[in-house]
Homo-oligomer: 197 residues x 2
């Protein structure tokens, strides 16, 4: 039906989160009907982003600059590091405008089920910054899941010898909930009500 190029396009679109087979077909059709104004610009944007965007060597954020635009911003509070599981959580906190410090992206949580061990997490740059820079506070903004709690406890033990103040987001993260689906108000409340770990 339409040849291998169309089948291939629909197959790749259907793998995107949020798009099933039906919406992938609708998206492909919309693109095919506007090759110059929609399809080729999207192809270019994908190629450009693949070329330009890299994980920040300091914090793990995805950015076309390295260090990223957050780590490189002198107006942000570099003494307060908010630790998140993934870049999606960082994006959620940035959209909510609730954190004026910088971030550290772990790239996962410890998980017995998924077999994620401490050495699989992005930790060395965080330790380096705590030891080298004037870091006052590390805010653990991990989801209220079993793995999130395990990771928070492990990180606290790991960071305690450095003498840095460790806090965690407290109120508002629903049990079993992920951070990056919360509304801005809930995220703000959770961050404001953080308490020592």
């Amino acid at each position: 039906m339409g040849g291998p190029e169309i089948e291939r396009l629909i197959g790749l679109l259907a793998k995107l989160p949020g798009l099933g087979p039906r919406s992938a077909r609708r998206a492909a059709l919309r693109l095919l009907q506007h090759p110059e104004s929609r399809m080729l610009p999207l192809a270019t944007a994908l190629t450009e982003a693949a070329r330009a965007v890299k994980p920040c060597r300091l914090c793990g954020n995805l950015d076309s600059r390295d260090p990223c635009s957050i780590c490189d911003d002198p107006h942000r509070d570099h003494a307060t590091i908010c630790v998140v599981e993934g870049v999606g959580d960082l994006w959620a906190l940035e959209r909510a405008h609730v954190h004026r410090g910088i971030y550290h992206v772990l790239g996962g949580t410890l998980s017995a089920l998924a077999g994620t061990r401490p050495e699989d997490l992005n930790l060395a740059p965080l330790l380096g910054r705590i030891e080298g820079d004037e870091v006052r506070e590390v805010i653990l903004a991990l989801g209220a899941t079993v793995d999130g709690a395990t990771t928070a406890h492990w990180l606290t033990e790991r960071l305690r010898p450095t003498g840095v103040t460790i806090t965690r987001v407290a109120q508002g993260v629903p049990i079993g909930g992920a951070l990056d689906v919360l509304d801005d108000g809930t995220l703000a409340a959770a961050l404001r009500a953080r308490r020592p770990f």
Copy 2:
């Protein structure tokens, strides 16, 4: 947040049908995390499809061949032409395997509101085929909307002088409903129960 490449990618993804801003961000993040295995293959598929896929000069279907693989298939019944509004409707009927003839894609319906007039529709190749080839039946498979009904009546008047048999899909298309969201069974029943117009 992450630079102009990421913002641009999210903006273009958010314009796809079925993807809002939130799912566009999730899709972009998934792609950014797999540049080689997901992002660049999608860019290539888009570029290839934009290059290869064109409307069939005979029926208006989108295909990387012209005439399309349906018009070019000697095993299909070229004496029965199913007229649809758009390529999405053709795809739906093909998925349901309910039509063994060929198609004609009008590219729209007559609409006073949208200002679509007869000269905006893809009609000439259909008239050419009816006059030149041995076409026995034209099945009108248009949505049960005001514009669909208007278009069906207008087409019937337009085709009557050719002496071709004109039928329309009858049962199963819900009032106000579009064709390309129906299940296969409903489509099959609608096509089987077609009656003279």
